[in-house]
């Protein structure tokens, strides 16, 4: 009857087989998204307005968790450390990724090897990477019985230089973590950019050559616009990952005993973990929501900003 009605109205009858097929493909991942992403996210927002500590007897406390966070100097300190980490790692990962992509975009003998070598760290588990670098960056302690200094300090000493405290120093611990993060992740962006660079229309370079454009001019007027959609994607992902950083801090600077020397490497995600271990789920949720809002805001700003520099219609 419904088919007749829709036919009478001039509409096509619904093809149930087609829709069931589509839904059977969509549904499993959508359910996964709802159960493991959307629902916990909504639940976190709800918990952030409560004093939930893991039990059934919690109550709504309005914005108290947010007020506590914003009035706690430690919270601002952790946010500042997160921002520093994010900005430095994004800049270096993108710039190095692009530089190596430009060097390795062309086919030459051994290019596959080098691409593999630079990408390899990205597929390693960050916990394993953290432990390896923790050993390499071991400080040199004067107290007998302390573990031997790491290979980096041994190298510095062999060069006649002063050893560094590295992970044990409050001025240097975050730098070490940033270096490790850049080392592990820039290869990912390199691979993204290589693929994008190879799709830039070569006739545009020829046209630029005929106009007498130099290397820099071609880079800024052809290469960057040509890869700008992928560049935009890379920057967005790098920023999000930067704000989510947790594993290196946990593995390399003391884990459950509070993070880096005197809190010098405590990023916001690590404080969320610490609050979680103290059963302060409500407060931890508030911090997580703040982090999510910051990431969302930056993503929206980028999304708006990209209209000015990302080119989607390069031929």
């Amino acid at each position: 009857m419904a088919t007749i009605k829709t036919a009478q109205l001039g509409k096509k009858p619904i093809n149930w087989v087609k829709w069931v097929t589509i839904l059977s493909f969509l549904l499993p991942s959508f359910v996964g998204f709802v159960v493991f992403v959307l629902a916990p996210m909504i639940w976190s927002v709800f918990l952030s307005f409560t004093n939930y500590r893991g039990g059934p007897n919690y109550k709504f406390i309005g914005v108290e968790n947010y007020v506590n966070a914003f009035s706690d100097p430690n919270f601002w300190s952790y946010l500042w450390i997160t921002a520093k980490y994010m900005v430095i790692t994004v800049v270096f990962q993108i710039v190095l990724g692009l530089a190596f992509a430009i060097l390795l975009q062309h086919q030459f003998k051994g290019c596959g090897f080098f691409r593999g070598v630079y990408y390899l760290p990205n597929i390693l588990a960050s916990v394993a990477v953290g432990i390896a670098f923790m050993t390499m960056f071991r400080p040199v302690s004067e107290a007998a019985g302390a573990p031997n200094g790491g290979i980096i300090n041994a190298f510095l000493i062999s060069m006649g230089l002063e050893p560094s405290q590295f992970l044990a120093g409050q001025e240097t611990a975050l730098t070490v973590i940033i270096i490790v993060s850049i080392w592990q992740n820039f290869g990912y962006y390199m691979v993204l950019f290589i693929g994008s660079l190879q799709n830039v229309n070569t006739s545009l370079y020829e046209a630029a050559d005929m106009d007498g454009a130099g290397w820099w001019k071609k880079f800024t007027t052809v290469t960057i616009p040509g890869i700008s959609p992928i560049l935009f994607y890379g920057i967005t992902i790098a920023i999000i990952r930067g704000f989510q950083m947790f594993d290196y801090v946990y593995v390399m600077t003391g884990g459950q005993f509070g993070g880096g020397p005197a809190g010098s490497t405590n990023v916001l995600a690590f404080d969320i973990y610490k609050m979680f271990t103290q059963s302060r789920y409500g407060y931890a949720s508030a911090e997580a929501v703040i982090l999510m809002v910051i990431i969302l805001a930056l993503t929206v700003i980028q999304q708006e900003g990209q209209k000015k520099w990302v080119v989607y219609d390069v031929v």
Partner: protein, 430 residues
Amino acid sequence: MKKIFVLFAVLLALMPVAVFAGGSSESSSSDGPVTIKYYTWEDAAHKPLIDAFNATHDDIQVDAEILPSANYEARLNTLLAGRVEMDAFMEKRQTDMFVQYNNGYIEPLNDYIIEGSPADGAVKAYESQMVYNGDILGIPWRGGAYYVYYNKKVFDACGVPYPSEYIENGEWTWDKFVEVSKALTNPELGTVGSCIYIWANGTMFIEAQNHKPIIDADGNIDFDDGFLRMLQIKKELEGAGAMVPLTDMKVTGTHYSNLFYNGNLGMLIIGEWFPGQMTTGERDGLLNGFTASDYGICRLPCDQAEYTTLGASTNNHVTSYSKNKEAAYEFISWMAGPEAAAIAAGLGVLPAVATDEVREILSQSIPDDGSSLNYFLEDKVNFTPNFGPYGSATESMIDTFQESYLLGNIPDDQVNAQFQANLEQIVATN
């Protein structure tokens, strides 16, 4: 199109049912023994105790879930919040029990414990820690006390008298501890004086001996200069090379037992479980240049006339939502009884209640030097500061605070004020 959305919604609603159906069934038998689910962490002593219980009980069997010790606290709290099937559990960070109790996950044991039973004795031995709001929250099975463990070979090499001699002369003060630590530090011999581990407890010994709670269960803040003095001692020893710096221990993941096993550490301040680690260390060939008979045990340094140590007992709890509370109680009360105590003592662990039998067994694993066993088992006052609902948050704050001090960020004259402010912040926000 509307129908498609309806269909989509219905399928969406049914999907979790389909996914999770069949995963929640609980296997139980009305005939065989009651099986209880018990959570603990990996420790050399835990499994032998559980095995012994299972071997001697036909009516109750313990199905142990042994989790990694790292992050056990967070895992346990998450499991409880998720009301995972659990009849009893062992507490690793004792102050977590207050939050668990307030959340209604701990079964008060007042109605279970029989006057004069071993469980009653264990609870009474640690009554100040186990009774909260009039409720008995759990049953201790392992005692709690910090000691000084010392390597006699290091003392002999450096020509320094053993701590027991200073104790007998009434000279074993914190100043003397610093002096001895420095005397034991000899770069030519490769020896280092002492180790007070990175944990927050390591800043509270003097406060414990001054009987200052730092924060009590009601949120009252009460501390004195003992906290600062402890920080000063650590800083002085680190500066003199007489102690491996705290931050170095942390970022290198150095375990206190490894420092002692190395054979060049003079003194280690750590808890009552360490003799067990010495036993396993020797068994596994980890001791470098000395044997388990070359170490001694003595009191903590103390500036007060009456000796006090610090240390929380290790407790078992019955889960409030357990369907097998009686069986769970039976198991955890057995853990506090003489049979389990004998097994624990055989593994070098100090049981909550030390009987003559325990004393006899412990004498096999504690160095036989005429004083160590006496100091290990002597009657002593146990005062544990920071033992209450604010304990976990305070410990975390102290972790960062002591690092800041040791790295020179907090001058001596600002320690008390900043510490007070941090404690007030914890009380206000927890």
